[in-house]
């Protein structure tokens, strides 16, 4: 008997066929579901993160990581796995949300479970971003300044949020605490509740581990030197960067993000017609975000001048 609130991993015959649904069905017939893969990637990220946390020094994060990359090949291996499994977690979590919306299974989840899932979205993003900030290289420091600036734009409570999330300037203690404990534990609890299982299956874990190893061999995550002419954020931050470049009043970004989160939560609570329109809106927004991410990735050079990838 399937538990109430458990993530549905099978196709539902009552749902009308669609291209996306067919794609997911075909994927599920060959590979483990994207939800299981996401869970497996998250677990690999947590386990490898424990190995990285041992030589990491929160008072000199950049130096500690440099030393790790130069002299400790074991720690470097785990850092690579940690980085790539986290990226895979985010990608498959996004795909899993699309899968839910395509199969209309979000309606089967109890209201409280869906609420906790919606709340965990910013926490999952923060787990990713805090890892990037903890590199404390020029990219990480810049991303921290941007995030702090965004919080400061929020009237009345902005400073309070900034201090709670990022801590004092040039101090990484609170970010580290949220990365290894607060945000990770919250996302883990919500994931376990949603998936209805604690451990990922062996097949998914092997797939994700192999993918992380392969990606580490192709492109190992490096630290950026302070003299680097082009400073960009992580790939999931590039779109936001581009949007901020075109937004003279950055307060709209946190306001719009909160509204999106409310809309995300509201999808299963609305009529099917409204829900379909909202899903279409989210899909278009995702497409737009991918487009601006590509612009930021390929067409932004030093000092925010437009450039071409072949230059």
């Amino acid at each position: 008997m399937r538990k109430k609130g458990r993530c549905s991993l099978s196709a539902h015959p009552e749902i009308p066929p669609s291209v996306v649904r067919t794609l997911f069905k075909q994927w599920n017939s060959i590979f483990p579901t994207v939800g299981l893969l996401s869970l497996a990637a998250f677990f690999i990220a947590i386990l490898s993160g424990i190995a990285v946390a041992i030589p990491f020094d929160v008072h000199a994060p950049y130096d500690a990581l440099q030393l790790m990359l130069l002299s400790n090949s074991g720690a470097e291996f785990f850092r690579n796995i940690h980085y790539w499994s986290a990226q895979l977690f985010l990608i498959f979590a996004i795909l899993h949300s699309i899968e839910h919306f395509a199969l209309k299974t979000e309606r089967k989840l109890p209201r409280a479970v869906w609420l906790r899932l919606a709340i965990s979205v910013p926490f999952a993003l923060f787990v990713m971003l805090s890892g990037f900030l903890l590199k404390a290289d020029s990219e990480g420091r810049l991303a921290r300044q941007i995030l702090a600036g965004l919080f400061e734009t929020i009237p009345a409570i902005g400073d309070f949020i900034k201090f709670t999330v990022l801590g004092p300037q040039n101090d990484f203690q609170i970010i580290y605490m949220h990365h290894v404990a607060t945000a990770t534990i919250l996302v883990l609890l919500v994931t376990i509740e949603h998936a209805g299982r604690i451990w990922p299956d062996l097949r998914s874990t092997l797939y994700m581990f192999s993918a992380a190893v392969l990606l580490s061999l192709v492109k190992a995550p490096t630290l950026q030197t302070p003299s680097a002419p082009v400073v960009k954020g992580p790939w999931y931050f590039l779109g936001l960067q581009e949007i901020l470049h075109w937004t003279p009043h950055p307060l709209w970004v946190p306001v719009f993000s909160v509204l999106l989160l409310f809309a995300f939560y509201a999808i299963p609570r609305t009529t099917e017609r409204v829900a379909t329109r909202m899903k279409l809106f989210f899909l278009l927004l995702l497409g737009f975000y991918c487009l601006v991410t590509l612009v930021g990735w390929l067409f932004r050079g030093a000092n925010w001048d437009f450039t071409t990838p072949w230059r």
Partner: protein, 137 residues
């Protein structure tokens, strides 16, 4: 009647539960406010050794533009999102975060920033051979 009572009790319990969450937050907010106020009172000025090179130089949170014996001093914080401006391109100051550009007199030349850089006051201590610049707010 019974239903009304149950609802009242439930509402009361919810309010108590909310209070348990809100009170520590309120306490934390007050603590942060007090800490910030203490920090702003005990703000140490930026100390810059003299003589300074002609043109632009960056010092912590301040940008100094020296033209012979005249100084123009601005906050290095971009007025868009508060990022520290630490570079020039030609005759402009460039924010590394989103590419806002300012002239050497602190005026916005290109967005996304909308406001000019904040001018900072300073004093020169000739005996110590140092310039003391107020920190930006």
């Amino acid at each position: 009647m019974v239903r009304f009572r149950t609802r009242t009790r439930r509402t009361f319990l919810k309010a108590v539960l909310l209070g348990f969450f809100v009170l520590p937050l309120r306490f934390f907010a007050t603590m942060v406010k007090a800490r910030r106020s203490f920090l702003s009172r005990s703000r140490i000025p930026i100390e810059v050794p003299l003589p300074l090179p002609a043109g632009i130089s960056f010092h912590d949170d301040a940008i100094v533009f020296r033209e012979q014996a005249n100084y123009r001093i601005f906050s290095a914080r971009c007025t868009h999102l508060g990022c520290i401006i630490d570079r020039t391109v030609g005759e402009t100051l460039v924010c590394p975060c989103h590419g806002s550009r300012y002239s050497f007199s602190g005026e916005v030349l290109r967005g996304p920033a909308q406001r000019n850089l904040q001018p900072l006051s300073y004093r020169i201590d000739a005996e110590k051979g140092k310039m003391f610049i107020e920190r930006p707010s």
